[in-house]
Symmetry: C4
Subunit: 244 residues, 4 copies
């Protein structure tokens, strides 16, 4: 079977990855997955490789068991099951990102929950869940490498579309590539604010009412974020040259 390549989507996946690397969210380990717009049972993900070298040619289609839909001898990300479980569990999820952002890693160690503090972080909800692989799977190699683990992880996602993984990293989902990038970056900003605010004194989180009213990221805000971050990419000359 050959899956038609949704080229515009694949280009967005590459751009999303480049943004996340450039804005300090993604390092060596991390990947962006996007659901195929014409077949909800298919998602696209890179073969195993360095995010900074990703090209559209590296992208492969997978089914919702995490199996590649084309014959390939490429090495695959062992954690591809995370995305399969996300797309299986949540029909509204069109995008899924796993990363180890420095800003969020401290909240993966159990000391204190990440909470929504500000207008641009309200979408995370009153408290971001922390999934611990030990609860159901005992000692592991700290990777999510099968559907059982991935399904357990995806079940911890709340409407806030983010879950922290103890001793490991983060899973963020979205309604599309622009939405998931917005959430990835602003979750980091929110965490940085909280970490610093806690050194100053007691923190006032958003109220339940404020969280409800601030709601999910507005499409215009999400679009503006994408415009902003693409302008900052090394390959874009708009910002570099000081368009005026």
């Amino acid at each position: 079977m050959t899956i038609p390549r949704p080229q515009a989507l694949l280009d967005q996946l590459v751009t999303a990855t480049r943004i996340l690397v450039h804005e300090g969210v993604m390092d060596v380990f991390g990947h962006v997955a996007l659901r195929d717009p014409s077949d909800p049972g298919v998602f696209w993900l890179a073969r195993a490789g360095a995010p900074a070298r990703l090209t559209a040619g590296d992208l492969l289609p997978f089914d919702l068991d995490g199996a590649p839909l084309e014959p390939t001898d490429a090495a695959l990300f062992s954690e591809r099951f995370i995305h399969a479980a996300v797309f299986r569990a949540d029909a509204t999820a069109q995008a899924s990102v796993h990363h180890h952002a420095a800003a969020l890693m401290p909240y993966c160690m159990g000391g204190r929950p990440l909470v929504a503090l500000s207008q641009t972080g309200a979408w995370m909800g009153a408290e971001v869940p922390l999934w611990d692989s030990r609860a159901s799977f005992g000692d592991t190699n700290m990777l999510v490498t099968d559907m059982a683990q991935a399904t357990d992880l995806a079940a911890a996602l709340t409407p806030g579309r983010i879950v922290l993984m103890r001793g490991h990293g983060v899973l963020v989902t979205g309604t599309g590539p622009e939405d998931v990038v917005f959430r990835c970056i602003h979750a980091c900003r929110e965490a940085e604010t909280l970490t610093a605010a806690l050194t100053l004194g007691p923190v006032t989180p958003l109220s339940e009412g404020e969280i409800a009213l601030a709601g999910t990221p507005a499409p215009a805000a999400v679009r503006r974020g994408w415009d902003h971050w693409t302008a900052r990419l090394p390959g874009d000359t708009t910002y570099r040259k000081g368009a005026q």
Copy 2:
């Protein structure tokens, strides 16, 4: 009605925005507004968009109710009322910036006030006010989206020309584009110093007498800041090429 375009001012607005992005003050959400030099009832502000892509062509004139003075079908910043209220409340304000700088966000969470510690931050005064939308407006979506909220916010400004917004961001005003940029950047520097100093031990703030004597930013210092930050912009080749 067509408002004559004060092109030099509009170019300064673009440059101010580029400086604030490049120096880490402004991210996706933020905007610079400048009062029209020939009509104090008019100010210029971009249509809604990413700061990193701003050009002078995106700038529109607004009246002091926050209404655009030219017919436009562009999306507008929902928080444009902030600037309208600033220019209405303070005849000496020629510039107004709203931003979410990482250095200042921790002080928007209520744990401890931001205080003036050093020569270059003395203009902020003994304590920067923290405006909380809940006090007068209860639960909101954490945006300032009408004149009532904006007027309440602007009334919290002190001679220090800066007010923090709980769970949201910062408002800084100035006597011109160079002055407001100076204040935006040095407020961040002062906050960074305070955050770190508090981890070391009790902090000695400036005395009342020192604050009075250090006073407002000197025009020469403000001008020097602008010269420094423009030299650091990617589009400027002076610094990049190592002028000698």
Copy 3:
């Protein structure tokens, strides 16, 4: 005696150094040493110089007493003995790096041990040893300048291949240039996570079982890191130009 120059290895040594400088691990003081692939009694190290100016032409062969194997009038690193002792003590070590990374220096001051917290830091083991020159050598100039000191330091290495040096810096070894670069960078990331996590509350370290299962860095992960970091180097155009 003239030692044949293993040019591919020497190029890797230069690249490893450039990565470590670019990723913020190595500053002025630091050096990478690689064992000669055709003679385990020989290692290659730069003559004394600035890491940012290193070229393959600066590399010299040394024996396992830290003596240069070719006549040279170049200034030599006074701490070259560190690498000699590493290669003498551990037949599996093919690479050795000494550096003063900002992320790790705080753990060289005795206040708290560096522990493995996450999947990508599990290789460090449950606790990174802190070697203190005062224990065996009393007051020194805080440099490791002879084989006696270097041998004592190298003996503190555990299977985690990293040891902190009190009041000085870090020693990391590896099974090759890619492996040691991976360890250098991820030790910094782990330390940054721990430092921030400790401000949030009690930290949950990896369990013994998790450390055992996560094990040493996987060759594929190590290779991916090298691919990622070389793509980010200023001299590489893949990432800069936004390959797509």
Copy 4:
């Protein structure tokens, strides 16, 4: 009177300034002064201006009262007296830098002294003095603007060649441009280490014996630093192009 222009020295002053800006030590406010090699009663300093725009043509000769030795209508740094007092008080000082580095500002607030922790910071001595203008001069505008204040400040310098100024910034002196740049940068690194180390637990400072043995920066180390930092400057192509 016309003072012969020591062009090589003036070029070094410009390079030193560019390094300090590029490495994050100097921001808008700061200046480098160098004593004239042929007349110890003369030093060179820029007219007032932005460090990022400094060229050798901006440099003027001053006497040890801080008066310009050539007729000029240029604006002068109000704090030029600092350098006059340094060169008057210490015949071995050939270089003097005043800056407001972010890493050191927290130590200017009185909460805790800056102490030498590591090999590359031992030259600072067991404790860096903190000069407070209020002790002798009461409330001021927090600038050092006459010889009386500058002389009092310079008298607080110890053999460590660094003094912190409460609520203001830092003064560092050196035996030449390379030496003072080394001290400026490594004082920042030491402060960053201490700030982070204090969040981990009690810190072990260097012993008196270690400080004595580590001594002042070695000429080879100082030279290596200059080589490293000049290679990193935007105007230098060695590092950017990945010399190999």
